[in-house]
Amino acid sequence: MKTREKTSAVAVKMVIAIIIALYVLFPFFLVVINSCKPTDMITANPIGLEGVSLPQLYQNLKDVINNTHFLFWSAFEYSVVITLLSLILLALFGAMAAWVICRNKTRWSTFIYFTFIASMIIPFQVVMLPLISTFRDVGKFVGIPMLQSVPGIIFAYLGFGGAMTVFILNGFIKGIPITLEEAASIDGCSPEQTFFLIIFPLLKPVITTVTILNGMWIWNDYLLPSMMLGQNGKVKTLPVAVQAFVGSYVKQWNLILAAALLAIIPIVILFLFAQKQIMEGMIEGAVKG
């Protein structure tokens, strides 16, 4: 009797879980089917499968990819380059800085550490306006364009991502026994050799975590690139391109949803391959942060 009750409870839970999953995934389903339809079929019946055809999908994607406001491949390339370079530099410089801060207990390092922590609560809105004018002025002054340029935005991500990166890495480095470094130093390692040959390889798991957290943020970020790159500039990241594309179009949903599909696909593919790491990374980042 009791086991039967339990199985029925499990069945109810299973049904609930499936219904919620359907609800959560339904928007994705809508994006996929409606990117395969011509406009008039979408307005006629947005949830049905009539009018869905692969040639139409091909047509929609072609229209979107070649659209002058969207320029998918260019935006995709810029997004990849900006995200990857920012992540590599954040991991490297973040680890270097965190190591120095963690291993030198001076007044200075404590001060820097607490400044970093305190800065994490600063909303981007407070700094964005002066940031743009500073970058414009500095860029003009030294002759290196900082706005509408890839190096400029990577530099900005280095500054904004630095605090959280150092904070999470610092927590991990604290747990590495200092005797390891002392032994290396006795064996004749210089400090920089100790860091690059011994400490840095040990940081692999925590660098994975910060890379996932920073990667999710930088890839999806809209406000910073839209302020720094502008809506009509040559350099655009994917979110900026989507916004520029939709803003320039009267509601042609087949094209807008095809654009959304293109923006979603890369990250969903990445998620399918690295599901476990991404979910664990997000949890760790939250619990430590």
């Binding site: 809105q125 002759g143 280095l158 630095g162 210089s190 809209y222 994917l238 619990v287």
Partner: protein
Amino acid sequence: MGEFSVGRKAASFGCMIVGLVLMIWGLAMAIAKTGNTLRGGALVVGAVAFFVGFYLFPTLKHHRTIVNIIFLFPLLFAFAVTVIIPLVLGIGYSFTDWNGIRTKGFVGLDNYMRMFRQPGFLWSILITFLFVVFNIILVNLTAFLLALLCTSKLKGLGFFRAAYFLPNLIGGIVLGYIWQFIFSNVITKFTTALFDSRYSMLSETKTAFIGIVIVYIWQYAGYIMLIYITGLNTIPGDVLEASSIDGANATQTLFEIKIPMIAPTITICTFLTLTSAFKQFDVNLALTNGTGSVANFMGNYLTNGTEMLALNIYSTAVINNEYAFGEAKAVLFFIILAVVSIVQVRISNKKEVEL
């Protein structure tokens, strides 16, 4: 100094001198406003050369200090230029009539006084608080229930977790447009059939606000769920076993054991939902762009019914070109956010101790 070769010394001092010369030349070109395009490159190359020379500096005693400085420099430099300097400048600008390019004069607290006389801004504060409260309650409740579901004995749990988390991977702009489509094209089909009403939820302020909340829960609950799952999994199995032997039913176990034991997790999740809802911008921009009419708010007719603080700041500065005014609003936004989050952490810590 004796143990260092002449070559090393020459390399060190050579690099430092070349670096300094290049940097001074670059700066001189910049100050003289010659428009020389090489000055940027000279500054960068000069800085790198200087650091190489600095690294090679022939000393054993201070080598560690030199390495420390070189290791800290890149991140601190970027942090100072992108966060600290703009923050200080921004607070300063908020007391002036800055127009994004230059300032003409100091206006004292004018910008701050003015924003409290602007009904649209007060409305933004009000609905931002409403939004935050709704989200803290609803996102946490949904996420917690999902976490309970995902920690029970079900087949295919991995799939459900991943599916619930999936929306969190997608950026707010794209999400916003997808849901704009759903609200204005899909749901209207149902409302037309059921209530004979073709109006989109997004066209009316109240329902549009509910729409933003729905999208936000859809996006964020899966992420918070993951954190609750981690929290629930840290409850030792023998505690739950002991309670079931003592005859506790499911409800008792939930309220007497599970919730008190995951109090730290609740604190984290409340903090995350609070700060992220407070700073919400992307979904707001893409879903409604702040539109929505309010017939009578303090005797005024408003057209920014769903415009939350972050978007209000953006449109004040970037759309209406009132940079100093927008910056003053942003400073207030920062102060409110800091105060609210500190209060939340305080209260939660107290509660944790009580539980």
